[in-house]
Amino acid sequence: MTSTHRFEERLLEELSAVVAARPAPGPAASVPTARRRVVPRGRLAVAGGAVTAAVAAVAVFASSGDHTTAAYAVTPQPSGAVTVTIRSLADADGLQRALDDAGLPAVVDYRADGGGGVGCAAAPGGGAVTGGTTAGGPTTTRHEESGHAEAGPTLTQSGPALPRPGAGRVRMSTSVRMRPDGSVTFSIDPGKLAAGQKVFITTSTGALTSIAIAVGETRPAPCPAP
């Protein structure tokens, strides 16, 4: 391949390779169809503040720049599960919509102490399993910044299934893995959710490293202070 003399031409070559490697849009393209927006009124208890996006108006997409750095990716798997990768805490609304569109009813709230901190599986909120990343601040921060190639820690937590009159009981294990690039990834099978159940994606500290996933009908309460 002959070398090109200008930065702009070389950059175009590299970018064209990126574009060529991307799949053409298929039936699962990002155009959202009819959105299922089910808010089980009276069954959704909220801890410490409103659920922000459950009935939000349509948000502006890429022109506002929110989707541009691919804060998240929602990928359906052949098994029926949905793999979610979160790279940054931007655009909670967009992720929530994308999950709804993928058949995974979700509530995404990244605010600090939106609920669901590590080890709070025992909090009331319906039978649920919470998978959380380690809230070890300094270690995790160094891990993100150093970009090591090692595989991130895999943490699997199976919380107790809390019997509650009338509530669905789900026993499911969800491993939340942090990758070397600092992104967080997990997979959930929508078919395993009972009617009325949602996935709650929250943080306890407002940072990606404290992200927690919970499944239930109602939002998990924030961790009680130690």
Binding site: L11, E14, S63
Partner: protein, 193 residues
Amino acid sequence: MSPDELPRIGHDPAAFAAFYGEHVEAVQRFVVRRVADPHLAADLTAEIFLAVVDAAPSYRPGRGTPTAWLFGIARHVVAAEHRRAGRERRAHARVEGRRLLEPDDVARMQERIDAAARARELHAALDALGEGERAVFELVALDDLSPAEAAAALGIRPVTARVRLHRARTSLRAHLTFDDDSTPMPRPMEARS
């Protein structure tokens, strides 16, 4: 490129090449109005086009012209740069722009940077503005977007953009150069080639 074709640039190399050719110079100028280092400018140029490729499938013509959309993305990428350490950003980059620079390219980028010195001064002076005012003012005064395009780039209503623009100009009156009393807004602060 017509707005209807724009979503294709995310997966169609020919469409992408056409879009890139139309906009690569404008993107580089956008970047050098904000950063003074040629290597960083190359990195950000690459990042902006990668972000464009990611965002293209969700572009809708009703949300603004391709230029407004592009500048909204560019703004987001450059703003994110200030919040991340350079080493971390490069470790995650899919295409490192600076690797593609030869000495001639560095010289040309430096020329752009020099031409944009006044713009960078103004950009620094904008710290005095509120975030919303700053965003609109930058796009109109530095990047030569119309207020309507700036509104589209930022995802706000045109009337909101005009109000913020007016407030910004009032706040910055001491810093701006007006070519005559009848011109309500300053010229973009760089030489055109």
